[in-house]
């Protein structure tokens, strides 16, 4: 279980303090938790704070009861937190199989690597020896990114806008990946998303607005009320 207690994040910009997140408190223990909200509401910042990439300027994070606020990205990863980047990183010379092996934390067989790639809709034979470099499209990189999180099988996985760039692959497949992931790991999956079909599978929806939690509740409580709000106007703009 992940508990965020009064998380605040501020940055210095042109000599002025700008607050990105204000007093965010949240418990994540459900199967699927979706964090949504308009652009600039602080969703990605919150995801990076959970992974340890950004350090909050105030507040605490507890993971399975342990205060992980001072822990590095590595230490959090080793305790069971995974993070899928919104814009996956490219590496010259590191192959898809290398990256999945690193994610799994052991040398994996071609068969195992193929299993993870097939789950994200990639024909393993075509990809396994390819470098994770600029020769791959944004959509391909995104699916490989998801495969690395699958290979880790941790108790908390955070996905920052996983739907962006996977246009040629159906959302239904993406959702089925999340469902299989849960079945295997029994861990919580946090998804930063604007996509209604992803929000539709969430057990809990968190709506962020201007760095604050505007609303938190079940899908039934939140989703209908999102329609017509400023958050959802952004959402419907993106979908149209």
């Amino acid at each position: 279980m992940l508990e965020l207690q009064n998380i605040t994040f501020e940055v210095e910009e042109n000599g002025q303090t700008k607050r990105i997140l204000s007093d965010v408190s949240l418990t994540i223990d459900e199967r699927f938790v979706a964090i949504t909200g308009p652009n600039g509401s602080g969703k990605s910042t919150l995801a990076k704070i959970i992974a340890g990439i950004l350090t909050p300027t105030g507040g605490k994070l507890l993971f399975n009861g342990e205060d992980i606020t001072p822990l590095s990205v590595t230490e959090r990863a080793r305790r069971g937190i995974s993070f899928a980047f919104q814009q996956p990183v490219r590496f010259k010379g590191i192959t898809v199989k290398d990256l999945i092996s690193l994610a799994a934390g052991k040398h994996i067989t071609v068969g195992e690597a193929c299993g993870y790639l097939s789950e994200v809709g990639l024909c393993a034979r075509d990809y396994i020896d390819r470098e994770v470099n600029a020769s791959l499209s944004g959509g391909e990189l995104k699916r490989i990114e998801i495969a690395t999180v699958l290979a880790r099988g941790t108790s908390l996985s955070v996905f920052d806008e996983p739907e962006a760039g996977i246009d040629l692959w159906s959302f239904q497949n993406l959702i089925s990946v999340f469902e299989k992931m849960y079945a295997k790991s029994q861990g919580s999956i946090v998804i930063i998303s604007h996509q209604e079909r992803i929000l539709n599978i969430a057990d809990k929806i968190v709506v962020l607005s201007a760095g604050r939690i505007e609303r938190v509740g079940t899908r039934e409580e939140i989703l209908p009320s999102l329609l017509g709000t400023s958050a959802c106007r952004a959402l419907t703009d993106k979908l149209s």
């Binding site: 990205v73 590595t74 980047f85 990183v89 590496f91 010379g93 590191i94 690193l102 934390g105 690395t148």
Partner: protein
């Protein structure tokens, strides 16, 4: 051959035993085994220089030549000339390389000049590894020179690797290509400590349709210094591409000096050069997979030079 010499042979030529096919092993300036085959003849030079001549008959296919050099003496310097004559339409693998183990305080140095005469339509894959070891304070120096003459429609692939233990190197590669000839170069260099590496390529594309693809990847760590130079002259309708990609770490210094000259309106020449530190987001990504910062760096470098 003792264990140390065997280790050096394995590093530079992946040799665990006497190789199949033709070979010539040179140890501390002396011959330490040679075999010619029906189609590949290895002879001592006749011009008074140290080294060998290698004659590969036309149409020789699927054969290999190993010519490793091992040096285990301190205060030893040599200059060796090896000339390769590759017959028309041959298709062969040539594995060269030099391993120096210097436990002493004096310098050990190997300068190898390899000249390739590649016949019409022949294909050669040339693999060259340089490796140094030894815990003495003496320096390991290697200065390889490669001179390539390519006849029409020939292909030369050169893989050159220097990963460890060479304190100073000055590498000079020159190539002259006739019509339809292709040259492919993949160079990998890693320097650390106070090492210095200079690598320079001069390629003349003289025949119509000739092409070169030259990629150098390097990592410079600690206080090491590297200089990359490439000069491609497009003298006719031809294509040339060179790429220098370097990762710089600590207090190291890398200089890239690309030069392209088109002497013909139909010469298509491209150069790409990038020098920079490891991208922070690459390290962070690998840390999210559970690697420490140092492990992440090692993986990124290993991949980059693989």
């Amino acid at each position: 051959m003792d264990e140390l010499e065997k280790m050096l042979l394995m590093q530079v030529a992946d040799l665990h035993r006497v190789p199949d096919g033709a070979y010539n092993i040179r140890k501390n300036g002396e011959g330490d085994g040679r075999r010619s085959t029906d189609r590949i003849r290895i002879e001592d030079r006749k011009d008074g220089h140290a080294g060998i001549d290698i004659f590969i008959a036309p149409d020789t296919k699927n054969e290999s030549v190993h010519i490793p050099v091992v040096i285990t003496k301190t205060d030893y310097r040599e200059r060796v000339y090896n000339d390769f004559y590759i017959g028309e339409n041959a298709d062969v693998l040539i594995i060269a390389g030099c391993g120096i183990h210097n436990c002493g305080v004096e310098t050990s140095e190997h300068t190898g000049v390899h000249t390739f005469h590649i016949g019409r339509g022949a294909k050669v894959r040339y693999v060259e590894k340089h490796y140094g070891s030894g815990d003495g304070s003496g320096e390991n120096i290697m200065n390889p020179a490669t001179v390539i003459y390519q006849e029409e429609d020939s292909r030369f692939e050169m893989e050159s690797t220097q990963i460890k233990g060479i304190d100073s190197t000055d590498r000079e590669t020159t190539a002259t290509l006739k019509a339809g000839a292709e040259l492919v170069v993949r160079e990998k260099i890693f320097t650390h400590g106070k090492q210095f590496a200079r690598t320079n390529f001069i390629v003349d594309l003289n025949g119509e349709g000739a092409g070169v693809d030259l990629v150098s990847r390097s990592v410079a760590a600690d206080d090491s210094r590297q200089t990359f130079g490439s000069r491609i002259n497009g003298n006719t309708a031809c294509h040339g591409h060179s790429e220098c990609d370097a990762i710089i770490m600590d207090r190291a210094c890398v200089t890239a000096v690309p030069e392209l000259t088109a002497n013909c309106i139909d010469a298509e020449l491209i150069h790409e050069a990038a020098i920079g530190k490891i991208a922070g987001e690459q390290i962070v990504k690998l840390m999210t997979l559970g690697l420490t910062e140092q492990e992440a760096e090692e993986q990124i470098i290993k991949g980059f030079l693989s």
